[in-house]
């Protein structure tokens, strides 16, 4: 199936997520969609998958204009989307999850045929378990996946769930497959199986769109690549195009970095020793990290690669699985969150509206909540004065009684900064300038660097390479289920950082679980 995207645009508030995007995806080819976070890849994918309706522009499938009102519409038109977190049903069995909301006469292999021909209406009421099982197993065998139809989905690995979803889309007659970062969080063997399946599907004439952040994936699989930047098509390239060219397209021209006076001082603010941390899908290890007072450490990587987990582990909100965590010389391993707070750790989550601030409370109520030594009674006048001071010091556009949800994103970030105690040993930030305009972002960084000069160590996760390069002293790169050792910014270029994020961690961490991508040398 050939997919033509013609001048598609989609806005979210002030943000142009897709701005006049046009591209053509050929049948029988793998088309890569590259770009950094927020470049508009996901929006485009959601539009193709029927989850979003574009504000302007149109789609043609095989030359026919289509209007997609729902994911079901998209699937009926032959487009199947494989989301990063598969849309399946963990408590159900594999077979049941395969069968949920399956149309009565599901098409297999493109041709229309009933699963249970000749059984009359009863077949429409009951689940066609046997037929579906046979179909599922046959499909799985064709692609060399091993599938146990009676296993609970919750017990599968992400890679297995992804395989299952792929088989389901194929069994429903998908002629175009859209894959969103499919190699995040799956093992090397699973990635091999996925890639060989995709190559096979390409030969069958399917159109395949691979949305990825990883250059190695794109280089291994794609025939053609479109790079998006800030919602626009930044360029297209036939593969192999060379990593250098792709990085240049993704991140634009390398900016001249302004001189930053080093703020790192003496004394260790944060010490991590052989820590292991993770969640239900990631299991990361970091051999050693000692952060000096006033030092700035950037955490680079595709979002969801574990940066947030490390920040939360350092903040005391996530218990490390192994190893030791010490802040300002005090060993805090296994201690509760308040102990971390007392030791001088501060944490600002990326989702300000849901995690960082409490929607429904005003600025002054937040100030009162953060009061270092609260008495029994609220002292309204003092609180008001403290709030006014904070508002003035951080130039927040709001009044003490303004509810935080009424503030703009930049002002919410300022409010978050205002709520931090003055003498932090360690400040942990997720996407500190997300959603801020350039002036606000610069201003926020001035505040942060002022804290560094006062001796606070900074760990921040960002998806903006510029920001990472400009403000960090050292950078940890998260990619493919691994963390690189800290790399000094002096040894990095924008280009090399981009490739490290793309999976080329030069110096592998000691004992990686399974390298997601084989290290490649520059062609």
């Amino acid at each position: 199936m050939r997919i033509e995207i013609e001048r598609v645009a989609k806005r979210f508030g002030p943000v142009n997520a897709n701005d006049d995007v046009s591209l053509t995806i050929q049948a029988g080819a793998v088309h890569g969609l590259l770009g950094e976070n927020g470049a508009g890849k996901s929006t485009l994918l959601r539009i193709l998958g029927g989850l979003l309706r574009p504000d302007a522009g149109r789609l043609r499938f095989d030359g026919r204009p289509v209007a997609l009102d729902s994911p079901a519409d998209a699937l009926a038109a032959g487009v199947g989307v494989l989301h990063q977190e598969p849309l399946d049903f963990p408590p159900l069995t594999v077979l049941e999850s395969f069968l949920v909301a399956r149309p009565r006469a599901a098409r297999a292999g493109g041709g229309a045929r009933a699963l249970l021909p000749g059984r009359g209406r009863a077949a429409g009421v009951f689940l066609p378990r046997r037929a579906a099982r046979e179909e599922l197993l046959a499909l799985a065998a064709r692609f060399g996946f091993s599938v146990d139809p009676d296993e609970q989905v919750a017990r599968l690995t992400l890679g297995e769930r992804q395989q299952l979803e792929l088989l389901r889309l194929l069994s429903l007659g998908a002629r175009a497959l859209l894959l969103d970062e499919p190699t995040t969080g799956i093992s090397g063997a699973q990635q091999e199986a996925l890639f060989s399946a995709l190559r096979r599907l390409k030969q069958d004439g399917k159109a395949i769109v691979l949305v990825s952040h990883k250059l190695s994936d794109v280089e291994a699989l794609c025939d053609r690549v479109t790079v998006l930047r800030q919602g626009k098509v930044a360029g297209e390239a036939e593969m192999p195009a060379g990593a250098a060219r792709l990085v240049a397209l993704m991140f634009g021209k390398a900016l001249a970095l302004p001189e930053r006076l080093p703020t790192a001082g003496d004394g260790v603010a944060l010490a991590l020793e052989d820590v292991g941390f993770g969640d239900h899908r990631l299991d990361l290890r970091l051999a050693r990290l000692a952060v000096r007072r006033g030092e700035v450490i950037g955490l680079a990587g595709l979002e969801g690669s574990g940066q947030r987990l490390l920040l939360r582990a350092c903040a005391g909100l996530l218990r490390v699985r192994r190893g030791r965590v010490a802040i300002g010389g005090a060993d805090l391993t296994g201690r509760p969150y308040p102990a971390f707070l007392r030791a001088g750790a501060g944490y600002l989550p990326a989702d300000r509206r849901r995690e960082g601030l409490i929607a429904g409370l005003s600025i002054e109520e937040h100030v009162a909540l953060r009061a270092p030594r609260p008495g029994v009674f609220l002292r309204p006048r003092e609180i008001r004065r403290a709030a006014e001071r904070a508002i003035e010091a951080l130039r927040i556009h709001g009044r003490p009684e303004t509810p935080v949800e009424a503030l703009s994103g930049g002002n919410q970030q300022r409010a978050q900064l205002a709520l931090l105690p003055g003498d932090l040993a360690l400040l942990l930030l997720e996407q500190p300038t997300r959603g801020l305009d350039i002036a606000s972002a610069r201003w926020v960084w001035e505040q942060l660097l002022a804290r560094c000069r006062a001796g606070t160590a900074l760990l921040f996760a960002s998806s903006e390479l510029d920001e990472l390069m400009r403000y960090s002293d050292r950078i940890l790169v998260f990619s493919g289920g691994r963390v690189s050792p800290p790399v000094s910014v002096a040894d990095l270029t924008l280009d090399r950082l981009g490739r490290m994020i793309g999976g080329e961690l030069d110096e592998p961490a000691p004992a990686p679980a399974e390298p997601a991508a084989p290290a490649r040398s520059d062609p």
Partner: protein
């Protein structure tokens, strides 16, 4: 022989006591599997019992009584569906208020019917089967309503686990967003499950007032609705286990009479709270992960059946409105921005 007979009659009584609960618990299970909490069961059952009895009395037809009761239960569920699914208000709050309201309404409307003799479901033993030793007296010497409850449990199981619609109900209760992405109409499925579940709760009420304890008095079914809700959890949101839970409750409450003679120091009424004590223990064991930790000490072969038998994990989306409160355009599902073209 004597002992055996006594035990059999005790169990038969227990089954009779559990029939209203079987209907109500299976109905509520269906609703909760779709991700909706209908907390109104206590009031809904009471009102349906009253309406069912009144309808049967005035028309002279037991069947009409059951139809009226089912309609009443569905009507109450409709309020929950409108408020909790479509208007996305708290299902807990609406259900609780309805529980109170319907109980009072049953007293107000049921005044003329208090202690009036009325029709009941006629007894009907099943030929041949009734003469099977043990099973016969236990299961097949009662009335059509009881037989229908066996059928209901089987049908509910088949529906949930063997039909397309049942799978959809479970899917919607677990991951409504994923079900929506596959083309399911989440609110429609949930509304249907709520209405059908409510109708079954209503039938459960009528099973009380037209069969188990025929007649009507103030707060005739008091406590039964709450017990049905407890049994749903105790039964791990499975219709068969819920029915077994209802039977366990029947046994406990009919042991009250037996217990009185055996343990005179324990008052009969204490047995009626046993299901709640059990529910709390089961809930605390399963939700805190304690059971899993205990199970880890057992060999694998013993662990999985144990965990499955006591599993009371609620459907992941139970009580959560869908679509969730809109936060931003990005998070909003398809249906929400239909108007913006």
């Amino acid at each position: 022989m004597d002992d055996g007979g006594e035990l059999l009659s005790l169990l038969a009584t227990a089954l009779a006591a559990s029939t209203p609960l079987v209907y109500a618990a299976v109905g509520e299970t269906l609703t909760e599997r779709a991700g909706v909490i209908n907390l109104s069961a206590e009031g809904s059952m009471m009102l349906s019992a009253m309406v069912g009895f009144a309808a049967a009395l005035t028309t002279g037809s037991v069947l009409a009584g059951f139809a009226a009761a089912a309609a009443t239960g569905a009507l109450v569920a409709l309020v929950v569906a409108i408020g909790g699914i479509h208007l996305r208000r708290s299902q807990i709050a609406i259900g609780f208020v309805l529980a109170m309201l319907c109980a009072d309404l049953s007293s107000v409307l049921g005044g003329p019917f208090v202690r009036v003799p009325g029709p009941t479901v006629p007894a009907m033993s099943i030929p041949v089967l009734r003469d099977v030793p043990i099973l016969g007296p236990l299961f097949f010497r009662s009335d059509p309503l009881v037989y229908a409850s066996y059928l209901l449990v089987a049908c509910a199981w088949v529906f949930l686990y063997r039909t397309r619609a049942g799978l959809l109900v479970r899917a919607v209760g677990e991951q409504p967003a994923a079900a929506h992405a596959r083309g399911a109409h989440v609110t429609r499925v949930r509304t249907a499950a709520t209405l059908v579940g409510g109708a079954l709760v209503g039938i459960g009420g009528a099973a009380y007032s037209l069969d188990f304890k025929a007649g009507w008095s103030h707060r005739h079914t008091a406590g039964y609705g709450w017990i049905a809700l407890a049994i749903v959890i105790f039964g791990g949101f499975d219709p068969v286990r819920a029915a077994l839970g209802a039977c366990l409750f029947g046994v406990l409450s009919s042991m009250a009479s037996l217990g009185q003679s055996a343990l005179p120091s324990v008052p009969a009424q204490v047995f009626s709270v046993a299901p709640f004590a059990l529910m709390i223990v089961v809930l605390a064991l399963t939700s805190s992960g304690l059971l899993e930790r205990l199970g880890a000490l057992l060999p694998d072969a013993a662990r999985r059946p144990l965990l499955r038998a006591f599993d009371a994990t609620p459907p992941a989306a139970l009580g959560k409105p869908y679509p969730a409160a809109a936060d931003g355009a990005e998070a909003r599902p398809r249906g929400a921005d239909q108007g913006t073209k």
